[in-house]
């Protein structure tokens, strides 16, 4: 009952307003979790290729960490970028700790996005684009360094702007542009193998 009331109350609130409300009442945090649960889970999945159970564990850990550190959130920045940043760090450290198997990190219905990545550059060789085969593309993406994979996932699958990627990865905007361009080149190279 109480949760339903909270849920209704937070429908029209911005993330930043919800952060302020959460500081007073932890129940409001459920609104933020519900708002980002799927996105964060999907991002972690794309980055790590973790299986469902591990994915849920990491997501839960991310939200707990975010709650504990909520007072460090800078209201001038976007909450989503801050949360993605925590998710990114948590995934990387989890991945390093457990050496997750990177299988199924990209689902086959996301192949269109991969084609978008490759087709985005006009100077990309068309033959690579047209010969793109599902399994091959997934494996190519998996073989990329984590930094390249992260920028590609954020830019093309999560639809984040350069500014947001810069905030998430704590890199200057110029570096983000360079990373994306290099990542695309690497992906093409991997596809050629």
């Amino acid at each position: 009952m109480k949760e339903k009331f909270i849920w209704e109350k937070c429908q029209n609130k911005t993330d930043e307003e919800l952060v302020l409300l959460t500081k007073k009442n932890a129940l409001y945090y459920s609104c933020l979790i519900n708002r980002y649960e799927e996105k964060i889970k999907r991002y972690i999945g794309r980055l790590s290729g973790a299986e469902k159970e591990t994915l849920e564990d990491i997501t839960q850990e991310v939200f707990l960490k975010a709650y504990i550190n909520l007072n460090s959130f800078n209201q001038e920045l976007k909450f989503s970028s801050w949360l993605y940043r925590i998710a990114h760090n948590e995934t990387i450290s989890h991945w390093r700790r457990n050496k997750l198997a990177n299988s199924n990190s990209v689902s086959f219905d996301e192949l269109d996005f991969l084609k978008t990545i490759l087709g985005d550059g006009k100077n990309m060789e068309d033959q690579v684009y047209w010969k793109l085969d599902g399994e091959q593309a997934v494996k190519a993406l998996e073989r990329l360094d984590e930094k390249y994979r992260a920028v590609l996932v954020l830019a093309f699958l999560e639809d984040k702007s350069y500014q947001e990627i810069a905030e998430i990865l704590k890199k200057p905007i110029g570096t983000v542009g360079t990373l994306i361009s290099r990542a695309k080149k690497r992906l093409v190279e991997e596809l050629r193998k």
Binding site: L27, Y29, S30, I33, E37, Q60, N69, N71, S72, W82
Partner: protein, 230 residues
């Protein structure tokens, strides 16, 4: 299922009585790492000073052009190594603070570094005025123990370096007489050396000479460059 995670997270928060870290924790945490980064940064500046001081005392840049062997011998490896170590530690401390405390504090880091520089400069000036010692003198003292000392470096006639106390100069023969730091009298020929301006008038002045050893037995050295010893 949507909402499942929020329920789980809220349950954990309630069950384990998890509290948010207070805002002051992040300021203190951030301050700690920033101060640590600034200390390392300041130490790196100190060693950068030591590096350039050593390079200048041993005329490293001159030897880079004239004598590669002496350049590599005079190169301040240890100060450079320590400089790199401290720069790395400063960067690591800054990044660690950023990671652990979730704070971006470039401005604070800049202000702290500026304060560190200013206090360092004031201290240098104060020690210069009070006991004529100063930072570089102390660096020299430290360097003596950790790197080839300038006295040793300038006492290798066979390699082309000679240091000693000026005794006299004969303008006719263009030869000067010095009493080396190893306690020997050396005749230094200056013919063809663009160093006539550097020859002192006062006895007892210390000179550093770069050139060629002509005779070990007669202790004759041919100068190619002369500096007043630092």
């Amino acid at each position: 299922m949507k909402g499942e995670i929020s329920q789980k997270v809220l349950a954990v928060i309630k069950k384990e009585k998890i509290k948010m870290k207070p805002a002051c924790y992040f300021w203190l945490c951030s301050g700690f790492w920033l101060i640590l980064a600034t200390v390392f940064f300041f130490l790196s500046v100190f060693w950068a000073g030591a590096f350039f001081h050593q390079l200048s005392v041993l005329k490293g840049l001159y030897f880079l052009d004239k004598n590669l062997y002496l350049f590599f011998l005079s190169f301040p490896y240890l100060p450079l190594f320590l400089l790199l170590i401290f720069v790395t530690l400063a960067v690591m401390a800054y990044r660690k603070g950023r990671m652990v405390c979730h704070h971006e504090n470039w401005l604070l880091f800049f202000l702290l570094s500026l304060a560190g520089f200013s206090s360092g400069a004031l201290w240098l000036e104060w020690s210069r005025q009070s006991d004529n010692a100063g930072l570089f003198f102390r660096q020299g003292q430290v360097l003596k123990y950790v790197i080839l000392s300038p006295d040793q470096f300038w006492s290798m006639p066979e390699k082309g370096t000679l240091k000693g106390e000026f005794i006299s100069f004969d303008p006719k023969t263009e030869k000067l007489l010095i009493f080396s730091s190893t306690g020997e009298e050396w005749i230094v020929e200056t013919k063809g050396c663009p160093c006539s301006q550097k020859i002192p008038n006062r006895k007892g002045t210390f000179l550093q000479i770069f050139g060629l050893q002509k005779s070990v037995k007669d202790k004759v050295f041919h100068a190619q460059q002369i500096w007043l010893a630092e």
